[in-house]
Symmetry: C2
Subunit: 474 residues, 2 copies
């Protein structure tokens, strides 16, 4: 077994101090201390505050050096002006990593901010202390009990997140969890003054816990090194990237957000393609494509079969998949026979997509349809789908009768016994009446280890990129 | 005042019969009878069933002719084979309109189904009975107490819906309501064997209640007449159209769904453009674009200002709007002065978009920012936005403290007093923890008569089409 990657120690501190934690709603105490209190951490957690003696019921030390034991990891949430002094204290205390929530550095564009950032980097580099940030939310590593914010899952998994924006890092972490994907480590690295996107890509390339890497990046400082790190990552595992600040103004916003130099869209597209990474266009797509890699076995081709309830949704679903370079072979005579033998109901659509209308009469035919399609060797991937809001039926009837729950249970049960690659589409339910069933049933599918997409368009797009990745490498 | 449009009487029957209603979950009784029972209808509602004497506590008549009073409007939910006989009964009874839920006609592709459809059309045309359908959900006209299904709003409004698919018609009706848009009339016309898309477009063109028309169409039978009807509609009011079955397989599915001949994508694009209608790509976009027409006063240009919380979401929002042909002028020195005078907080982004970070300290500066931007005459439209899930803050803190509610209340309150065109973006909240606040706060905005979009991409796209419409006509 090879050694752990170089940066691994930053994810596994034995003791933590939060400098600048305070009480109150929206305070640093709530954001950074709460997860340590509610989700646990194996080692000691200390608070440092110049003036306060207690925050959220915990003792505060006036400075780092007053803490009785060693401190590995410091969360910095004080004014930027005071951070050079704090960095010196960190050196004296033997701190290994500082994650800087503090902002007001190079991203501010002010001479003073830029100078301050140079100063903390200088102290860090001279003394071997590493910095995550500034202007970041730090590190999420559920196996170590480190969280970007309260309310994140303590499950550990296989998705690694490299994210320049703190808000986006938290979004990706939360939505991944909702979609059944647990995180190995996520890093919100902000201005990236010391540990940057390239360091993190190299780390995740080697990290054995991480099987898929997603990247949200606004800009880079060293293009050559970035390309090499991105290539290393993409060579080792699927690496999916969203570039923020693609437009001119987006880039100006990014500069003001994280001090990033965005580069031209064309050069970005070329870099990403050459490195073998997968480019996407929004945050949800990062998760959709990851989901395909984590939960779907690579299909042999692009031939899809869709089955679900609803005529209009079937028509639009076909349009979506075909627009994503997938094909929908017409049902073969043999398949038709196997399906039609069991019913003659007007209103059904017997093409591919199949509209399986009459589920109120029982689940046998629905189950049979999945099984017949699973055995049909002219298709490479099966997509059963369920639309909560696009129904010719009042949601009260559709849901309260337990029908959607039954459908989902049958889907999950069948899929477990199927060898063919499968994805489920639960079309997003946005009505208050349908949302609850949707979210509970999404959880049932996720717990069954199934890739669920929230629209046919999202499924088509993720499958296109997933299959394209394997085609390029075969 | 001009006369009512020719077809108006089909929306205002004085008596209704449901033929084929039955009990049980998912039954026609639940679907079609329930709204009459729960939401009321001014006239008598009768049930007809060959064998049953009672359904859902209501008396059933063995046939139409046994009904004691006149019947204007018949909902047909019996086997296709029995519909020619029923049509004859309808003629005898003096029925004016039949809406056919029954399927198994031309859309089945079978000779028998096609023959049956010809037969009912012949009886209808010879005797002046009109048919909506077959294979349709019928008519939604809240002012008359007609519903496509139970669970639809009884509010009446200004959006007219012409929809070939029943499921999609119900989706559009439900989601419009959620987005604050009430319906004048919606018609799910299925195979359109008698009353078809062209009749309905001509009707909605003249209908005074309808201010915006949305159309979901899978295919047409008479291209020339359709073009003329679409042009008439688009000349009279904004007409937004989604073509289902754009792809080859989508078209095959549409044929099987509603018997529609889809036509080539190119000819569709040309027809829609020439007619002056607005083409969109999915059901939600139909509603997004309608919302702009119904709730936003036409901006003078394409210059936008965005303000909200979150760095990453600001960067991606800028990218989305710029991709939609809108511009984001940089803050003028005067505007900067007015904003910066009030705060110097690291972490804010002082470009356009503006990231207004520190709302826990109060709403005054947030309110001031909206007011300053509203007075800035270098922008044409203002977009305050709020992301529930893309926050560097635990939703429990963010929502439970009442902060998002405060933000939304301030937005609504400010917008009421602003003359500049405004749209709000409440970025979709998909987490169980955030969904409830999101949906409640969406309702607050909608009740304030404000156009709310659920992503910056959706807002940008709708505004692009909305402004483009006015540019073409100026």
């Amino acid at each position: 077994m090879s050694a752990l990657p170089k940066l691994d120690y930053i994810f596994h501190p034995e003791s933590v101090a939060i400098v600048g934690a305070s009480d109150g709603v929206g305070s640093m105490g709530s954001m950074f201390l709460k997860p340590f209190l509610t989700q646990g951490f194996k080692g000691p957690v200390y608070l440092v505050h110049k003036k306060k003696t207690e925050v959220m019921g915990m003792k505060c030390y006036p400075s780092l050096k007053d803490i009785p034991g060693p401190v590995d990891y410091v969360i910095v949430a004080i004014s930027a002006f005071n951070t050079p002094d704090l960095m010196k204290e960190c050196v004296e205390k033997g701190v290994k990593v500082c994650t800087f929530f503090s902002a007001g550095f190079s991203e501010s564009g002010s001479e003073e901010g830029i100078k301050l950032e140079h100063k903390i980097v200088e102290i860090a580099k001279t003394n071997g202390v590493r910095i995550v940030g500034p202007n970041s939310m730090g590190i999420y590593c559920p196996s170590s009990g480190l969280y970007l914010s309260s309310g994140l899952s303590s499950r550990t998994g296989h998705l690694g997140i490299v994210c320049q924006s703190g808000g986006n890092a938290i979004y990706l972490s939360r939505i991944s969890e909702m979609r059944g994907v647990a995180i190995s480590k996520a890093v919100s690295y902000g201005n990236g003054c010391d540990i940057n996107e390239s360091d993190l890509l190299e780390y995740f390339a080697e990290d054995r816990e991480t099987k898929v890497i997603v990247v949200y990046i606004e800009g880079i400082k060293d293009g050559k090194r970035f390309f090499s790190a991105l290539k290393k990552a993409a060579d080792s595992k699927p690496t999916i990237i969203l570039k923020g600040g693609k437009t001119e103004i987006g880039a100006a916003t990014a500069a003001s957000h994280t001090g990033a130099l965005s580069g031209s869209t064309n050069s970005w597209n070329a870099i990403i393609k050459q490195a073998g990474a997968i480019q996407v266009n929004d945050l949800d797509e990062l998760i959709d494509v990851s989901l395909a890699f984590l939960y779907i076995s690579p299909p042999k081709g692009r031939r899809v079969s869709i089955m679900g309830v609803g005529g209009g949704v079937s028509v639009l679903s076909a349009d979506s998949l075909l627009s994503s370079n997938l094909s929908l072979p017409p049902l073969s005579d043999e398949v038709k026979k196997k399906l039609q033998r069991r019913r003659h109901n007007p209103g059904y659509i017997y093409t591919n997509p199949i509209d399986t209308l009459d589920l109120f009469k029982g689940m046998d035919e629905f189950r049979n349809t999945i099984e017949v399609l699973a055995q049909w060797d002219e298709i490479d991937i099966l997509i059963p789908h369920l639309a909560y809001d696009i129904m010719g039926i009042d949601p009260e009837i559709w849901i309260d009768s337990g029908l959607t729950r039954n459908i989902v249970n049958v889907m999950v049960d069948c899929i477990k016994r199927i060898k063919k690659p499968v994805a489920i589409v639960l079309h997003y339910a946005s009505l208050p009446k349908t949302y609850q069933a949707f979210s509970e049933e999404l959880r049932i599918c996720c717990e069954g280890g199934i890739a669920v997409f929230l629209s046919m368009e999202a499924a088509g797009n993720a499958l296109d990129k997933f299959i394209g990745y394997h085609e390029m490498r075969s």
